[in-house]
């Protein structure tokens, strides 16, 4: 059991236990102990998972960009950086999807509709699609180095593009002064326990991200190692063709 159970180590197991405990406390605080908001009532309880999800997605995409940049600039071009970038991008897509769904449920309660053409919402949707494209490019095939070079350039392009999309979308919305949309975060008056729940959520989700990233990145390392090993087999098979 010890040491040989997949991508885990004693450190990740301990981290995993901490994450689960923190998420348990978060659920108790967020869903039970914390007070209802004066304006939003019980719907504020969605915030305790919605905000940490989108926060994690931002961390993940920033991680993807940083690792892609390091991969391209480092002298030895270690594929480990590319794998961390890819793993992080994948986790980011998961969390941005989750936060889009929970956000629109929250919106249904506070705004009355699932979707409003709010700048932040719209550019988050673009973020989601951009990184789906990033993951698609990672699946294009070729050697590991081709994958790494292509996807790291694309990740850096995405970082350039996202502020521009966000800026143009907010400019677009600012000129359409429709009935001022309730901003779910601005109207919340947070008391002590509510603030505690929110920060607990942020920390728990960040640690959850680290845990997922460690495992995913190790699994990717094994995937790469296996296809390298497949290459060894293929090389031997290829050499044997010569005699046949």
């Amino acid at each position: 059991m010890a040491g040989q159970s997949g991508t885990g180590t004693s450190a990740t197991r301990r981290l995993g236990i901490v994450v689960i405990l923190m998420l348990g406390v978060l659920a108790l605080c967020g869903l039970w102990f914390s007070a209802e908001d004066v304006v939003q009532g019980s719907t504020v309880r969605i915030m305790y998972i919605h905000v940490p999800s989108i926060w994690t997605a931002y961390i993940a995409f920033a991680m993807t960009a940083v690792c892609s940049g390091v991969y391209l600039s480092a002298k030895n071009r270690s594929l480990a950086w590319d794998r961390v970038a890819g793993a992080s991008g994948e986790i980011g897509v998961l969390f941005v999807a989750v936060s889009l769904v929970t956000g629109s449920m929250w919106g249904r309660l506070t705004w009355g509709t699932y979707w409003v053409w709010d700048a932040r919402l719209t550019s988050t949707a673009f973020l989601f699609i951009t990184y789906i494209g990033y993951l698609a490019v990672r699946q294009l095939g070729g050697t590991h180095r081709q994958r790494a070079r292509r996807s790291s350039v694309l990740a850096l392009l995405a970082i350039l593009e996202i502020p521009l999309v966000h800026f143009s979308v907010s400019l677009w919305r600012s000129l359409h002064q429709e009935a001022s949309v309730a901003n779910p975060n601005a109207k919340v008056e947070l008391d002590g326990l509510m603030l505690f729940s929110l920060f607990l959520g942020l920390i728990a989700f960040t640690l959850l991200f680290v845990w997922l990233l460690l495992h995913r990145q190790r699994a990717m390392m094994l995937e790469d190692a296996f296809s390298d090993r497949g290459l060894d087999v293929a090389i031997t098979a290829r050499r044997n063709e010569a005699g046949a």
């Binding site: 180095r145 290459l231 090389i235 031997t236 044997n240 063709e241």
Partner: protein, 211 residues
């Protein structure tokens, strides 16, 4: 002697398939090396590796003293590759193709004219769209574009394919004159008798390796 191509244990991968599986090869300046072997032996990939097009996955390789692993882009401007494809734009005429090619590689008009005359694609043919040419005529165009490159190493993949008897004689003469002016030629060909008469040495490629 001066070694222009030096590969040792080179592995090159197409997708997940090792087209070259640890090949060793050394070519001296002024040689005409014939690569022989069955279909799918790795001849095309070998030529593409030497041209700096295909990255090497393992092993070491130097072409004209330049490291293939770290600096393969630098090799490209000094070698010429004639692949299976001819590199033509099918919607352009022969003349337009040659003019485009000349202005990208920096060849003069007289060099283009003489190359086109050498491959006999001047005159009436020059105004025909590439899509209307026969396979042999397209091959001639590709060879003419190779001539204006003045490459130090000529890498030719089935250069005889599609050429008529006269074209083959012209090709042989062309390669001999290139070698006499200091170039090196590596060619893969199934035209065994013709290529053997031309080559100074034969290398057999099979299963992604050389013997």
């Amino acid at each position: 002697m001066d070694t222009v191509i030096e590969l040792s244990g080179v592995v090159a991968v197409l997708g997940q398939f090792p087209a070259l599986a640890g090949i060793d090869l050394a070519v001296q300046r002024g040689e005409i090396v014939l690569l022989q072997g069955p279909n799918g032996a790795g001849k095309t990939s070998l030529l593409r590796v030497c041209a700096g097009l295909l990255p090497i996955e393992r092993g070491t390789g130097h072409v004209l003293g330049i490291d293939l692993a770290t600096n393969r882009e630098a090799i490209r401007s000094r070698v010429g590759l004639l692949g299976h494809a001819n590199g033509l734009y099918l919607d352009l005429t022969v003349m337009q193709n040659m003019q485009f090619w000349a202005s990208t590689v920096g060849a003069t008009k007289s060099e283009v004219d003489s190359a086109m005359a050498t491959m006999r694609i001047d005159g009436r043919l020059a105004r025909v769209k590439a899509s209307q040419l026969s396979a042999g005529q397209r091959r001639r165009c590709a060879l003419a574009s190779l001539i204006v490159r003045r490459a130090e190493i000529w890498l030719l993949d089935e250069p005889h394919a599609g050429l008529d008897a006269a074209g083959r004689d012209e090709l042989d003469a062309l390669l001999r004159s290139a070698v006499s002016s200091g170039a090196t030629v590596v060619l893969a060909s199934h035209e065994r008798d013709r290529a053997l008469g031309l080559a100074t040495r034969t290398v057999t490629i099979d299963g992604g390796g050389a013997s």
